[in-house]
Amino acid sequence: MAEVFQAIDQFPVTLKTWLLGHAAGVMPEWALPLLSAALSITPILAVFPLLFALTTVIERKGLGRIQNRRGPNRVGIPLTNIRLAGFGQFIADGIKSLTKEDIVPRSADKVVHFLAPIALLIPVLLTYSVLPFGRNMVPLDLPQTGLLFFFALGASTELSVFMAGWSSRNKYSLLGAMRAIAQMVSYEIPLILSALTVVMIAGTLSLSGIVESQAEVRFGFLHSWHLFTPWGLVGFFLFLTAAAAEANRTPFDLPEAESEIIAGYFTEYSGFKFAIFFLAEYLGLFAMCGLGITLFLGGWLPPFKFLGFIPSWCWFLGKLVALILLFIWLRGTLPRLRTDQLMGFAWKFLLPMTLINLFVAGLWHLSVTSVPMTVRWIGGFALLAIPYWLLGRGFEAKVGKREYRFAN
Amino acid sequence: MTPLSGYLLVSALLFCIGLAGALTRRNAIMVLIGIELMLNAANLNFIAFWRFSEHPETQTGLMFALFSIAIAAAEAAVGLALIITIYRHFRTANVDKVEAMKG
């Protein structure tokens, strides 16, 4: 039985090895690495854009239900009455955006305007190459610099956003781009600092190494996810907050605040280029979720040892879908922040909290052998809860009870 | 495999492009960009010499490059802040026009 489960678990790896083995006899030597790369890339390019397409429908349906509406439920198989509960919507949307007219403003910088969506999509897609999707399933395992690679590519998307906003020659676009850049630069620091705690404890920048550092089994059944520590729990939520801001998700979607600046930096994009921006945004969110899973939620590891028979890649995808649903839920709940609140939150709350979290993680690491478990837990939580309460109080004091001068 | 001279030539070329730009362009930001190019050329030299040295395990070149990247970031921040201040004061970022101290 165990062999069957293992075979299912390693099925993608086996398939790739088998295909490569067959190709070795047919293809010239120099083409084999290319084929190997293509075989690694194809599943990513197939799975994640499909996930994006399904997410757009699920998001609209979920938001509809949250607002007591039905959401899209019509588009099914064409020329029949089969509706598929609206899950044909993404195909219709795709066809629509493909066939729409591509409008470029007359005064736009045509070359930069054309390059911006490409320059945004490529780094986002490249970030997937270091994520461990399952046991032995890392397209590009960088043993020394995996996490740094991820953050370097994440940082380079800011420039594409600027390219899009500047080249459109539109005030809304430029404002949106400036907002997006300011936000991404500000939230990158808490993002990296909250990820750094895990690097400190795991002692490696390799993402597969970080997953393996969580494989240890506690109490006979529980895998030692970093989430199951005081600093990991707090760090995970700090990471999620910063990731939401990096991916321009509600409540941090000011760069695309349609009530103020139309669509932000991609106001002047239409048709397929707009679809690419949309795709890149969601793929960026998924990559961030995937990184959060790898760092804090044990990557492809199951939470309990006895659930290990479920294939590792199922665990990764399941956690990914769960995080996406969480983000949709948050989007349905929270209103958008104001620009000064956004910046204040990053610098006055997230940054100090991540620094304190780093300190707590250091203490946790140093007290592994010397201090009993309960003391470490209570101490860690106390060290994090008190600053949280103090910082949060300072943050809340500004949002006092609203006074209506004329209504009362 | 590329010999050391290849990297050194690229680095020299980059340095001279940066130098030419810094000497000829009027805009202060362009001068700063030229200086950044020259710094990067030096960095490439550090890395290349480290890689081709007889004792790469000492990592001295890497260290130097890392430090120089950090310093370049600080330099860019301060330099650009200065340029913005000059622009606010003189309403121009043209280095030839900022001549308040000229006798």
Partner: protein, 165 residues
């Protein structure tokens, strides 16, 4: 000389020329970004992964953004009818002479013919340990410098606001 090196070197040098010669400042900044990316590629070729990715993180992610912001904040400084550069004859000969001198030195030196040693065993761990032991003093000085630079940049950029008040 390998093909990948030729492509990366061509990209780096070409984009550097573009960064220094284009009229539009934002185009120059974008060319500079391409140069930084090409340099990061060269670092990767030299097995300096950590420095290469740091280069992208710091230069593309931060310095380029700073430059772009500065360009937008000082917009309209170069009137269209005014040449973007002073007479090229002032700077170009100096640069060409400097290049010739350096190229001659590189080509004449026996060091230049040296081929790379086998890939050195570099781990980020040893890099970090070195930073915390041998290089701890430079690191501390650098930390101080970065703090001073941050404060300095904030104060310099804020000064005019106080004058207005």
């Amino acid at each position: 000389m390998t093909l990948s090196f030729a492509i990366l070197a061509g990209l780096t040098v070409g984009s550097a020329v573009a960064a220094m010669s284009l009229r539009n400042l934002v185009h120059c900044a974008l060319g500079l970004v391409l140069t930084f990316a090409g340099l990061a590629g060269l670092y990767l070729q030299l097995n300096a992964e950590f420095v290469g990715f740091t280069q992208i993180l710091v230069y593309v992610g931060a310095v380029a953004i700073l430059i772009v912001f500065a360009i937008l904040l000082t917009r309209g400084t170069e009137p269209a009818n005014e040449p973007a550069a002073v007479s090229p004859w002032a700077g170009l000969p100096v640069a060409v002479l400097a290049f010739l001198a350096m190229a001659a030195a590189v080509l004449a030196s026996p060091v230049g013919k040296r081929l790379a040693a086998p890939v050195p065993e570099v781990s980020v761990k040893t890099l970090g340990q070195k930073l915390m032991t041998d290089y701890v003093l430079p690191l501390e000085v650098l930390a101080l410098l970065l703090t001073a630079a941050m404060l300095g940049a904030v104060i310099i950029a804020m000064k005019d606001k106080e004058d207005l008040q």
